[in-house]
Subunit: 161 residues, 2 copies
DNA sequence: TGGATATACTTTACATATCAACTATTTACA
DNA sequence: TGTAAATAGTTGATATGTAAAGTATATCCA
């Protein structure tokens, strides 16, 4: 019996190889997310909060709220509340755009940058702890296949099927 | 620039191949979950609700609440509410165990089975729509690598590091 | 046999995902 | 110009993930 079916004590085999792909992705994700969630919480963050901050750090400057949302594959209303909470903790700033007053630009603060910096090393350690038993070649191969697996799905607008 | 970094407009390359693995798993999962969530909602279910029902159908008989939780990698309090809601909709039954009165056994009802049956074909279509461009060989290889990737993580008790 | 411990949940509280509906502002165009 | 449509974001309601604390029952063991 393949591994996932044994782990979940599933009685029926997979109907399709594609089904096995999807369910195994979901499974790995659950396990990974659980660990990362624990780490982030030690630093007073949740995963989505961390993601938003990391996007802003990577950008290096202000971004419109919806741009942050699209990079996170977050549904729009979720971003409003998430960013509001980060702003309330002074981890980001949120300012109305001068040119288009519908737009609110958010940027990471130095307090936010400091918090992220504290997480950099523990995160690298976590990556190694979770997947350090895989060789670089295996990792690259797995990444390539994961890229191909999501090829048919538009990343920018998940709702456009 | 590797694909995920371009998709998310990330400016820095990955520090580790293991990091790329984890982040690509999270990415595929987000995209997959989004699509499946939409499908389930058309049938009045959420993903966790569907999972619980599928576990009970697969089992073919009653299971203790916590057994359902462990197969879903759900934290315990979440299961209580989820199962209560399914019971309120008559999709499952929940009965106190005669031998051990701490235990509540849940089982899927015929109404629950009918609902799941309606989803079987759309789900197979979805698997094909998402990953149908991958060959069987690629799927199997990807599954093997995903299994290896989670090898170090105990599936039964995610909290036991 | 009785008290400490373990087990199987439940309850509460807070954060996020999701949809639907709404506000404010801008753009397109007749 | 002025009205319809599009865009950017907010608000409200329901469901789940998570931790912490509580309840009921069972088990261990001195």
């Amino acid at each position: 019996m393949p591994r996932l079916e044994r782990e979940t004590r599933k009685k029926r085999p997979f109907d399709l190889p594609q089904q096995a792909v999807v369910l195994n992705v979901l499974r790995d994700n659950e396990l990974f997310q659980h660990r990362f969630g624990q780490l982030f919480r030690e630093y007073g963050l949740t995963q989505p909060q961390y993601n938003a901050l990391r996007i802003l750090r990577g950008e290096g400057g202000p971004l419109p709220c919806l741009e942050v949302a699209s990079r996170m594959i977050a549904v729009v209303p979720a971003i409003t509340r998430l960013l509001d909470k980060l702003e309330a903790r002074d981890l980001i700033t949120k300012r109305q755009d001068a040119g288009d007053r519908r737009v609110w630009n958010v940027a990471i603060t130095s307090k936010g940058l400091n918090l992220l910096a504290k997480l950099d090393k523990p995160l690298l350690d976590m990556y190694r702890a979770l997947c350090g038993h895989m060789t670089k070649t295996e990792c690259n191969q797995l990444v390539k296949l994961l890229e191909k697996a999501r090829q048919r799905i538009t990343p920018e607008s998940p709702e456009s099927s």
